[in-house]
């Protein structure tokens, strides 16, 4: 896992990376370890949130990777997390479905609420929690089984064995992931034989099969070629309005094309959060403008 690498401040988010031409006072303050309030655009305050992140801190051992993140994730919208490598966006994403629990040295404070239910409540059953979310990873990770079984995996482990139900979910999910026409004749062949782009769309189908309340995408296109990337982006736009999507991306164009809201993070802190058009066209901070226009990062 690359968690340790992401938390190393020398990578990407180094203070020297900010050139003198870029107004870097706020970023320098962050690098120096001072608390900086996040700039949240007014339109974000009015959304109906599916997920509320509330003063969330996270440490890997002695190293703090997330600092007091507070942000609502709007319902049935696509929210993009951007920022240089090591800024903690993947960590934040993995905290939503508590995958970070698997890392032994992780410690957190603060909370997140999924539709009002506290995620970090000690009484919360992690397994039940994860069933309410879907996640897609950087590298396509189809399971070593047939395409069909991949899609209905979440239902199978939930004990669903009714063929009719599974068939219906399989078709709906594959159609939802724009993969149905390509694989409908070989549903029972191994998923390993699909191309990279198809595999990633299969992973999306698998993630939406259980009707998740929120869909987490962790740089879903970074291992794909441009054509496959195009298809997945198209798919994300189709998902908009039906699913609440939280997507981590390195690609500024991808964020601007696919998302409704964008959050800019830096060294474990939320710097600016607003509607995508707001962030990309009239950001409050010059630092954000510098980043989204590619002048640093």
């Amino acid at each position: 896992m690359n968690i340790q690498a992401e938390t190393t401040p020398e990578r990407g988010g180094h203070p020297e990376a900010v050139s003198a031409a870029v107004p870097a006072d706020r970023l320098q303050a962050v690098a120096a370890g001072r608390d900086v309030p996040a700039e949240v655009h007014p339109e974000v305050r009015e959304v109906t949130p599916v997920l509320e992140i509330d003063r969330f801190n996270l440490w890997y051992g002695g190293k703090q990777a997330l600092h007091g993140i507070t942000m609502p994730i709007p319902h049935n919208k696509v929210t993009a997390l951007i920022g240089p490598s090591g800024c903690g966006k993947s960590t934040l994403l993995r905290s939503v479905n508590r995958l970070n629990d698997l890392v032994q040295s992780v410690r957190i404070t603060g909370d997140m609420r999924l539709n009002g239910d506290s995620i970090y409540d000690p009484r919360m059953d992690v397994i039940e929690l994860r069933k309410r979310m879907g996640m897609v990873f950087q590298k396509p990770n189809p399971f070593p089984m047939s395409i069909y079984e991949n899609v209905v995996y979440a239902l199978r482990i939930d004990g669903e064995n009714n063929r009719a139900v599974l068939d219906e979910v399989c078709e709906l999910s594959l159609r939802g992931a724009a993969l149905w026409d390509e694989v409908k004749d070989r549903l029972h062949e191994s998923a390993i034989g699909l191309s990279g782009g198809q595999q990633q769309r299969l992973c999306i189908a698998r993630a939406i099969a259980a009707e998740p309340e929120v869909l987490l995408l962790d740089e879903p296109c970074s291992a794909l070629d441009p054509i496959a990337t195009g298809k997945v982006e198209e798919l994300i736009q189709e998902l908009r309005g039906r699913y609440s999507v939280l997507i981590v991306t390195h690609n500024m164009q991808q964020a601007s094309r696919t998302s409704d809201y964008t959050a800019f993070m830096y060294l474990g802190r939320l710097i600016e959060y607003g509607s995508t058009s707001g962030i990309f066209t009239k950001p409050i901070l010059r630092e954000t403008e510098a980043y989204v226009t590619g002048r640093f990062g």
Binding site: L102, R132, G134, N141, F143, I157, G193, G196, Q199
Partner: protein, 568 residues
Amino acid sequence: MSSDTKHRPRRMRSSFSSLTAHGEPWVWLTGGALAVAIMMITGLLAFIAFRGASTFWPVPLELVELADGGRALGEVSERERAEAATAKTAGRGSRRLVRTANFEVSGHHYQWFDDTAIARASRPEWATVVERLEGGRFHGFPLRLLHGDEVIAVGPEETWKAFEREHPVVRRRWREAMRIDRNERGLLQRQLRAARLAVVQARLDDGPAVAGTGAVSAGQKAATAAEQEVIARVGRQSAELDARTGQLRHENEGWGLEVETADGIKKVIPLEGIVRACQPNRLSLAGKFGVYGSRWGEFLGDDPREANSAGGVFPAIWGTVAMTLIMALLVAPFGVLAALYLREYASPGAVTTAVRIAINNLAGVPSIVYGAFGLGFFCYALGGGIDELFFRASLVADNQPTFGTGGLLWASLTLALLTLPVVIVATEEALSAVPNSMREGSYACGAGKWQTIRRIVLPRALPGIMTGLILAMARGAGEVAPLMLVGVKKLALDLPIDGRFPFVHPEREFMHLAYLIYDVGFQSPNSQAAKPMVFTITFLLVTIIALLNVAAIWIRSRLKRRYVAQQF
């Protein structure tokens, strides 16, 4: 850098540095090592295959007439150059080793003859090899076929024709009598023993209190009555069997083939004691293949005879395969579960590392130690306990252990223990090769740890686990030392898995090919004659292990195609 070196072009330090850079000598060295290894392995296999396959080929019989008037008939099995032993011709000559057989006449199985001492060597047409049930081979010329006082045929050709007509009939009767003796009489004996043990068991059930008073309980009375009934019935059936076998034996009696040896001694060989006879010198190629096939058939399908140096090895094939498969069935779940805990559940630390090192060291413990452990723990402790609990009657009445001695189950368990480290290590490697992204994907879908292991990790790791199992099977099938202590016997004709209820007899002792190699090759009274058998048994064992491995590899490649393929 000083100014004068600046202008000098960069030079190689020496011509040798180019050689080390390209590494040519290393290519030769590594390639050479591989070539030597391949040559040794293929050489060994080819040697075993050739010697093993040629054992049963009918070799021509040579009639050797010596200058001093002696005569001998046999197969030339070896030639070598040696100092001439005869005084007449000094200097180097060659000599030949002839398998003269006829042990009861000459006192030899094999004899060396100096070429210089031989006046004439020929291959007479009617020289005959007679393979007998007992006493080894007999070489000679057929004279007459006899039935009691009656002479059926005279002269080699007539005799041979008559022999070919009568021999199969006689043999069929003999086999029928053998079958009755072994199966039907064996069944009666087992019924007798069961009834007798039931009485003993009834007495044991009553306990010492009843036994002390001399009173006879109802259970004991019933068992005794049942025993009397069985004795009466077995007596009747046994008499019937006696009549049948007596009839068969009577019909076979008197049939004999009179054979004259090379030096003129006549001998009558009972027809029912002849397994096979042929005249290799007059056999056509097809005839030779017929004899060859028939000998292979006997080897693969029959019981051994003559202290295992002749006949078949069927019980040993059966024992080897049964033991190897049971071992694989036992070691696979054990090893996989242990490795699962070690890799998936145990938190990494000093203890886990220590356990891992201990397991690796276990693979280096001499196999005889496992044998001793198996004998002490499985046979005596576990088996003895089972006997005390369930088979006490046999122990009291016959002083005969059932499970408390070596047997198929204990041998399989011992070998499972022996091969456990191989399976654990291979499984651990396979588990750690499963990408973490798959585990995370599964957790993200809401699967628990065990669901992830069962549905994602295990299928993906299965080919690697199979590799470990293949290695374990190859190791287990070829192991001898521990087996000698926990159940392998020189001769055990009752198969551990047969068609008789309850079909699997895990307590039975069994035969094993690898042990047979040791026994035939080094414990046989007639080691020269047994030598070709050793090659054949080795060839067979290697072939069986190869077949088991090919089957496992085939399964593995199917699994691999299903579960593991390269990512785009």
